[in-house]
């Protein structure tokens, strides 16, 4: 692992438009049956502009920043050895259909422990007005060579 990755500035991703049907599709996949995720009227009654994305939805958008990280030529990350260690989503407000989100990646820490590397990164997502919506924080564990 290249420790200098933590210094690197990554380009913000192209805006991701959150679609109502995508929210519904993702909700079905995580067994999210609450009307807020499927029914615009129920969402409006609760004060939202449109259907609300389930809490783990930002992982769909974070995929683009993960690809940025893996594509760094000097990152030295072999994806077949990667295991997801932990995950967090910290929100300023819920994501709703119609949001246009841009994610900016930052590698916050790289640690080596017993031959494994642990890379923690954050993808901060902002809406079309530039306001923070959610930050996705992931730690990936890259298993070292086994003897």
């Amino acid at each position: 692992m290249n420790p200098e990755l933590t210094e690197r500035a990554f380009t913000p991703t192209a805006p991701y438009l959150v679609g109502r049907e995508k929210v519904r599709e993702f909700a079905r996949a995580v067994l999210a049956t609450a009307p807020l995720h499927h029914d615009p009227e129920a969402a409006r009654a609760a004060g939202f502009a449109d259907v609300v994305a389930p809490p783990t939805f930002p992982i769909v958008i974070a995929e683009a920043t993960l690809q940025q990280l893996l594509a760094e030529p000097d990152a030295g990350i072999d994806f077949s050895r990667v295991v997801h260690g932990d995950q967090r989503f910290s929100y300023s407000r819920p994501i709703v259909a119609g949001d246009e989100l841009t994610a900016t990646l930052r590698v916050t820490s790289i640690k080596t422990l017993g031959g494994n590397s642990m890379v923690t990164s954050e993808s901060a997502m902002t809406d079309a007005a530039g306001a923070h919506v959610v930050t996705s924080i992931s730690t990936l564990v890259i298993r070292g060579d086994e003897s």
Binding site: V30, A32, T33, A34, A42, E63, S80, D86
Partner: protein, 138 residues
């Protein structure tokens, strides 16, 4: 009634057993865009030394919070959610896998509650430090 009224530390707000099948994994792969073949191909899983096809960690995380959302029932929203992936969930092609989720109140403040999740598969927990912050909707 507000979400936080009468809520006590240690109170169980939701309990549920969820059945995952290979179909669930394929559906999640499509919805999330995570097409790592260890989540649907036995031969690839065996090749990399896994005990079988595994559920996506993010599927387990996504499913585990649902009982909390149903409990909150539009009186609150999930403002923070974190987990540690501690053990894999092997999904048998015929039998699937059952996850048991227990959601317990860990802390309450002015406008939010912290709900801790225990998620077990067989008799082992698969998520560590699984914490959900539910903030009340004004």
């Amino acid at each position: 009634m507000s979400l936080l009224d009468g809520l006590e530390i240690g109170q169980i707000v939701a309990e549920r057993t969820v059945h995952l099948t290979r179909d669930s994994l394929v559906r999640y792969a499509g919805a999330s865009g995570d097409f790592n073949p260890i989540h649907y191909r036995d031969d690839v899983a065996a090749q990399v030394g896994l005990p079988g096809v595994l559920a996506h960690g993010m599927l387990t995380m996504g499913v585990a919070v649902q009982p909390v959302i149903d409990w909150a029932d539009a009186r609150g929203w999930v403002s923070d959610y974190q987990v540690r992936f501690t053990r894999p969930v092997v999904v048998d092609p015929a039998l699937g896998a059952d996850l048991t989720i227990t959601a317990k109140v860990a802390a309450v403040d002015d406008d939010a509650a912290r709900i801790d999740l225990t998620v077990t598969y067989g008799d082992q927990t698969v998520l560590g430090k699984a914490q959900v912050r539910v903030t009340t909707l004004a």
